[in-house]
Symmetry: C2
Subunit: 373 residues, 2 copies
């Protein structure tokens, strides 16, 4: 490619060209490069709490990395690691805070040991759904509070997707009354687990990969996971006979991207903006995917695997609702930052749910009046 | 910056440097410049159907332009024009197709005269809400169909925000039964207008800016617009005594970005990606804003302006629902592309609404059981 070009030139022209190149290339072009930001390339690591490419949850960080690389023209390349590939899924927070990776994708309630208030940014039992939570994050002060909670750890959080309403879960025995929850060993994390404890159950902490065998062996009596799309992928229908749909513990579970603050601040402004906007796009993309795929998976569960989906009885829901209020009050009393975040969340929920009563709820009722309870 | 560097060099080293520069700069560096795309700057015009900076609708294109400029490091600057500033709001489609502007922000149902199927991409009476529509767009084949419908015009569409469920609107007289709709002159665009006609009403086409005076003067008997946030901004409560909330005509009105295809293809790939992702982020941002602001505005309407919000009677809703089915069947029979898009939409709606019955609807019911009808 290069030599044919040289051979056409005399020594003199080559010399002149050389001086010219020095004057222009070595001088001005460097200046140009300097003024439009030095085109430095960055290679980042992104650790996650999910199996690599797990449907929905694991797809989001891959989409994010692809978008960032495309938008930056390859200047910011982000390599995504599944649970355990670089660090275990429950060490994502520490890994990003400590700089082992520049970014993470996880769920904030995993970090309740670091900051109890973090739980609120994932979901609250009987709290807001996906649309409401996103409104609180971006127009109700939620993101500002989330940044405040993570600031002491040198981390910047971004909303990183939402699963929509999660199903109540898979049970080995039928639930007919609130007393049936007593002594029930159930995999359920975060505040939902605290609520289960309050009604006499025994919350168990397990990562997703252990759910199936624990349920099948009887080590646990029940488990929630996400919804039909993810539950089908784990084959949970093979390990439990009863699938209850009445979601209450995670009515719109928000995921998170976390970014090491020093690494973020080391980026030029355009790449910072690319991260800001790409996280926002993925935040919606995941909900779109779950909304579309959950129904397909529900049909497969029903038609192919003969799963019957049941509602939880009204008295069970009433008991859980009451227990949830008590749990939230206790958590708020125990931690001032939890209290501060919860007050903001609660104020927003009161308002938005009043509006959704005359908009979304009224509409669902009028669209399908025959299927209303 | 440059000469001090030269002065340290002997002629020989300068010569060597020159050759070196030729070998590296004139050869490889030019290659680098070529491969990382010449840093050309672009200035685009974006025309909209809204008053400049109108809450929600008009804010979205401003947010988009700001995000694109930040992410591109100023390489793509987009100037946003309000309704009438460069072209009238109803000429956005033609202006972008013809190249007067590279982009537009509008609502697809304004272009039913160009392509009847376009209406479906905004909203369908008794159709899908925002969350469902976004899932159809991005994971149910909706966007592919939208691109197909706009391709003959040299336009690329992107989902560009959503208002959520729109309110039934403002009426000068009380609506007690379906017969009260007969002879009613109401501003209501698109398929909703066709449904109104079917139950005996008279749909009127008016831009937003004319609503207040037309309603106040009695030129129209009723109008829908968006919801509390936008309705309050227009002061509609001063011109009509009855505010009905039971939304049915636009249960999740999607806005659109349209891009001139030739202009898009003229961009380097990184700037194309920036447009793709920025539209997606704004698509969610608008819904977040409406979700948060509608409630605040509803409280203002109720508390400050003594507005009473009412549901439409069940027999009115039943009549509208029946009329909507007839309208959709007629439209599908009249236009093959409308039929094709509607079949995709309908198939998706049947599935997603079955899933939302056990997730979103079940959850709303269990969260606030006392407020259920």
């Amino acid at each position: 490619m290069f030599f044919p070009l040289i051979q056409q030139k005399t020594f003199f022209s080559l010399f002149l060209c050389g001086v010219c190149a020095l004057l222009s290339a070595c001088g001005q072009e460097q200046q140009t490069a300097g003024s439009s930001a030095p085109q430095q390339n960055y290679e980042w690591k992104l650790v996650t709490s999910w199996p690599k490419n797990f449907p929905g949850l694991g797809k989001a960080p891959e989409t994010f990395a692809r978008d960032v690389e495309r938008m930056s023209g390859g200047r910011l390349k982000i390599k995504v690691y599944g649970d355990g590939e670089l660090v275990p899924g429950f060490q994502v927070f520490d890994a990003v805070a400590g700089g082992t990776a520049q970014m993470g994708h996880a769920a904030a309630y995993y970090w309740k040991g670091k900051a109890p208030a973090a739980q609120i940014f994932t979901a609250i039992p009987f709290g807001m759904n996906a649309q409401e939570t996103n409104a609180w994050f971006h127009y109700g002060g939620g993101m500002e509070l989330w940044r405040e909670v993570y600031a002491p750890f040198g981390l910047i959080p971004f909303a990183g997707g939402n699963t929509g309403v999660q199903m109540a879960g898979w049970f080995k025995k039928e639930i007919n009354k609130l007393e049936d929850m007593q002594g029930l060993k159930m995999r359920i994390p975060g505040l939902g687990g605290e609520v289960l404890k309050k009604v006499g159950g025994i919350p168990v902490a397990l990562t997703g990969g252990d759910l199936f065998t624990s349920l099948q062996s009887g080590a646990i009596d029940a488990t929630e996971w996400v919804g039909p799309y993810n539950d089908l992928a784990f084959g949970l229908y093979k390990a439990a006979d009863y699938y209850y749909y009445s979601g209450w513990h995670e009515p719109g579970a928000a995921l998170e991207f976390i970014v090491n603050k020093a690494a973020y601040e080391n980026l030029p402004q355009d790449l910072q903006a690319i991260i800001d906007v790409a996280t926002r796009a993925v935040n919606q993309d995941m909900l779109d995917e779950y909304t579309a795929r959950n129904n397909e998976a529900m049909q497969t569960l029903k038609m192919k695997h003969n799963v019957v989906m049941r509602p939880l009885p009204a008295d069970v829901m009433a008991g859980l609702r009451q227990a949830a209020q008590a749990v939230m009050a206790e958590q708020a009393a125990a931690d001032p930052m939890f209290k501060k975040v919860y007050e903001s969340y609660q104020r927003f929920q009161v308002g938005v749910s009043e509006y959704h009563q005359v908009s979304e709820v009224e509409y669902y009722k009028n669209r399908n009046p025959q299927t209303q309870p």
